[in-house]
């Protein structure tokens, strides 16, 4: 039988030479990989473990980051707080250790002299003793705070019911209040809508206009969940606080360093209250931006370390594959020689060895990815209710794709050396080898 028709050049040959669509070659690769299963599995384990560790660690890093972020969720990270403290230096004939108060009049001066202020919220604190908040025969001991509407721009509460304090409440000194979720639970055990209902705070009736859920773990003047917030002006008048301001919450305009803003406000306050410009402790302050930046750098540090260690492990796995494949090529010297004698081109040999390396790396890597994601899922399910500092361990789709790309690179690099070794095999020497 004449085969010339059958074995004439296949017109699809050039497509096959591209390799990717060559099913035969994939079958060929599969036969080689499965021919020595235990060796292939041992070889692949390094990459599997590297990928598994990378995914697990990146997921854990993400969970830590999310945990940290949840601690400050809803809290403006460009904020600082200022309060009056005792002086530490004598000034203008006044002794050191003098107490002083911030006053309502300071506010417009600060806003005027410090244009870097974005939001400014004066705050007033008040207690009231045991069971200071009551509704009919229900009572609880809660914090009481006087706020401006702008406070919710700095330390946001999500409104579960109703609204936050507004400008009209301040202007008309309305007897209204916002209660925290815990206050709501105690005073409204039947979970009814509390908006419009009256409660007594330190003996005075206030109408509830909203229930706030506090998401951040940063609390100013007590747990916001256990706080009744009144309009600042109402609280000053109703509880005889005069024109005193206990606390200032401030955020900086975009691009302004909070540290600089804090310093300017201190300077204004010192000028207005006869305090030495060198007095470091007369105006107390706290800078959230510094804390947040520390968190941020900590997160970046952890993430970088994870990637360095993870990629190192993955590369170690790749080196393992390369090593084993070098041994494999040595063992297959004769086979490669035979293939070359039968017409395999250098490209055929290189693509075969490279493909084997890539397939082995990718299979092992994908298995590591799947197991890693599975582990993260299980840990996530176990944690979902409890831990606040370790939340939703996951890796993003982008990270998964990037990892696969890295695997592809590792697989190619791992196969490169063995492929070159295979290419250097002379068919004649290989065939002679027994």
């Amino acid at each position: 039988m004449n085969n010339s028709d059958k074995i004439s050049n296949n017109k699809l040959g050039f497509i096959k030479n591209l390799g990717i669509f060559d099913l035969d070659r994939w079958e060929e690769i599969w036969i080689t990989i499965t021919h020595n299963k235990s060796r292939s599995i041992l070889t692949a384990f390094g990459v599997f473990w590297g990928m598994f560790m990378l995914v697990a660690m990146v997921g854990a890093g993400v969970a830590l980051q999310r945990g940290m972020n949840s601690q400050i969720e809803g809290f403006a990270t460009n904020s600082c707080f200022v309060w009056a403290d005792r002086t530490s230096l004598p000034y203008n004939g006044l002794k050191k250790g003098r107490g002083w108060d911030m006053l309502n009049e300071d506010i417009p001066v600060i806003l005027n002299k410090v244009p870097e202020v974005q939001y400014l919220a004066p705050v007033l604190f008040g207690g009231g003793g045991t069971n200071n908040v009551t509704r009919n025969d229900l009572a609880g001991t809660f914090n009481v705070k006087g706020n401006y509407p702008s406070y919710n721009m700095i330390d946001a509460s999500k409104m579960v019911y109703g609204r936050y304090i507004n400008d009209v409440d301040i202007a008309e000194k309305r007897k209204v209040c916002i209660i925290g979720e815990r206050v709501y639970e105690v005073l409204f055990p039947t979970k009814e809508n509390p908006v419009g209902k009256q409660i007594k705070v330190n003996g005075i009736y206030f109408q509830i206009v909203g229930v706030g859920r506090h998401t951040s773990s940063v609390n100013i003047g007590g747990d916001e969940q256990e706080t009744v917030v009144l309009p600042f002006s109402t609280m000053q008048q109703a509880f005889n606080q005069g024109n005193v301001v206990h606390f200032l919450a401030v955020t900086a305009q975009p691009g302004v360093k909070v540290k600089d803003l804090e310093e300017k406000i201190r300077t204004v306050l010192k000028e207005r209250h006869n305090i030495s410009p060198d007095d470091k402790s007369a105006v107390g302050g706290m800078n959230i931006e510094d804390q947040f930046t520390m968190f941020l750098y900590l997160g970046i540090g952890i993430a970088s370390l994870i990637w360095v260690v993870g990629l190192g492990t993955l590369f170690a796995g790749g080196i393992g594959i390369s090593n084993i494949m070098l041994v494999t090529v040595r063992e297959r010297t004769k086979e490669i020689g035979i293939r070359r004698a039968l017409g395999a081109t250098p490209r055929n040999i290189i693509t075969q060895i490279l493909s084997e390396s890539i397939v082995l790396t990718l299979l092992a890597g994908i298995a590591g990815l799947v197991f890693g994601v599975g582990l993260l899922y299980l840990v996530g399910v176990g944690l979902s209710q409890s831990d606040q500092f370790f939340k939703d361990p996951q890796i993003s789709f982008g990270v998964a794709i990037a990892s696969l790309f890295i695997l592809l690179v590792i697989g190619t690099l791992a196969g490169f050396l063995p492929a070159n070794r295979a290419l250097s095999i002379k068919p004649i020497e290989a065939i002679r080898e027994e």
Partner: protein
Amino acid sequence: MITLTDINKTYYTEATSLHVLKGIDLHIAKGEYVSIMGASGSGKSTLLNILGILDNYDTGEYLLNNKLIKNLSEKQAAAYRNELIGFVFQSFNLINFKNALENVALPLYYRNISRKKRNIIAMEYLDRMGLKDWALHLPSEMSGGQKQRVAIARAIISEPKILLADEPTGALDSKTTVDVMKVFKELNDSGLTTIVVTHEKSVADETHKIIHIKDGLIENIENRR
């Protein structure tokens, strides 16, 4: 078909050099059945390797099927080996994890023939060798004679212009040797130029022309027809 003119080949090691072929002139016509004989170290295997484009020569000229075989790239050499030459080796050189059918079909894989098509062709060739029922067996499950017939099927599946056999019966018993030589004879009768390197006189006697090599030179050519 084959014309060798003043072919020289020297092997170099770090300290010494060995002039293996010292000016070989040889012409083998289409359809000839030739054997090459010589003592160990005479250069007969080197000559076969050069003929099979498995090794290079230093000086001279080698024309195969009117193509000059000189300074070929690896890719060209691979293509010529695939198109023009069929190899049969003493130790069969089958790939041990492939069955008989896959081994026979392998040269067609490097011609980008589809698996289905090459398996059909490979089965025909196995059938010609009387091994149809052994198609799915691994080499380790076959006798020496069977393995050599699989190797012959693999060598001729791509319809080469010449068949080169290096001590093809060296690993076979006398009865199997006769069977294998019969196959070579049939192939030559069908028009395939066949060259056998052997040190067995009985094998050489089957061919039409015996080329005796000694110390890298053709000592004499014995025409037997």
